[in-house]
């Protein structure tokens, strides 16, 4: 389905067309829900918090100054709401425990995976991502799935820009390590 820019719907809502808010909800509900779910790890709680996020955003829409993207703004609300729900001061971005396996190239890994069927590629990735922690999954989702910039992610999570870069670098490396190991296991089974 084709959507307009967020600013189009925001203007319509501010002009009194409440139904236009449905488009904003539909566009962003999956990522808002994903962010909250990765922090809370409970679908019912995540659904409740995600609904509150959109209600809060609606009530505050006239204060939204459009200095940042609407998506960054609402994902920040989602992140902070989920954190408040867990009663933690900050989402625990734990240190990464990476094994140093450098005896492969990323091109080799990606080339091997490209040869698999789509379904097998997805399975491979899901197994690799199962080894990531919730905060790592959150960063991967924000950066690779929804094209948020490093600055956006920094704004959403409260991490510094350099911290986000370092973490993404290490998470990517960890994914390649995992996928390389999985490919070798597959080859040894055959």
């Amino acid at each position: 389905m084709k959507y307009q820019e967020d600013s189009y719907y925001i203007e319509r809502v501010l002009n009194g067309d409440v139904s236009s808010y449905a488009a904003l909800v539909t566009k962003h509900k999956n990522l808002v829900f994903s962010i909250v779910l990765k922090i809370l790890n409970n679908r019912e709680d995540a659904e409740e918090v995600a609904q509150d996020v959109f209600l809060k955003a609606y009530q505050s829409l006239k204060k939204f100054e459009q200095k940042s993207k609407f998506s960054t703004w609402i994902y920040r609300i989602a992140y902070n709401s989920a954190i408040s729900r867990t009663r933690k001061k900050k989402f625990e971005f734990v240190g990464l425990n990476t094994q140093i396996i450098d005896n492969y190239s990323t091109d080799e890994v990606s080339s091997n995976i490209h040869q698999l069927e789509d379904h097998d590629q997805r399975q491979m990735l899901e197994k690799a991502m199962a080894g990531l922690s919730d905060d790592e999954n959150l960063l991967i989702t924000l950066f690779y799935k929804s094209d948020n910039s490093i600055e956006d992610i920094s704004s959403i999570t409260g991490l510094s820009i350099s911290n986000v870069k370092v973490r993404l670098f290490r998470i990517r490396k960890k994914l390649y390590d995992e996928m390389n190991l999985l490919m070798k296991k597959n080859d040894s089974v055959k």
């Binding site: 084709k2 139904s19 990323t106 670098f169």
Partner: protein
Amino acid sequence: MNKDDFLNDDFIRDLIRKTPLDSPSDDFLEKIMGNIQMDPRIAPVKQPFFLWVKSAWPFALAGFILIVFLFTSDLPFTNILPGKDYFTKSFLPYFESLFAGIKNLFVQSKYTNIGLIVIFSGGLLVMLDHLLHRKTHLQHPTVIQ
């Protein structure tokens, strides 16, 4: 691995995008819209006055210029405009001294004329850009996958 490789890793990006995001329940949207429309504690969003003025000013300006033009022009069909007599015979004389001053300004210096033409043209271009931007916005929507 270079430290900035993750920025341009299309392989990982494409692979990760093949896995869908988690989705809320099917009635998620209905619940939110129901709360917004029915809960009296949630005040309806009202457009701040300045936003209304901001979006309407090009049309107001164009309308004002058109009215002034019609009431001050000698075009024959404008004689039937109601109130034109009053406007030209009773209302305009109050502004004669102001208009006379402005007229002198035009007569005395050709640079003033050029400056005013540039300002007027620039204003028209801004208005046209604003109107076209709104139209383009509607014709080129963002595709969401």
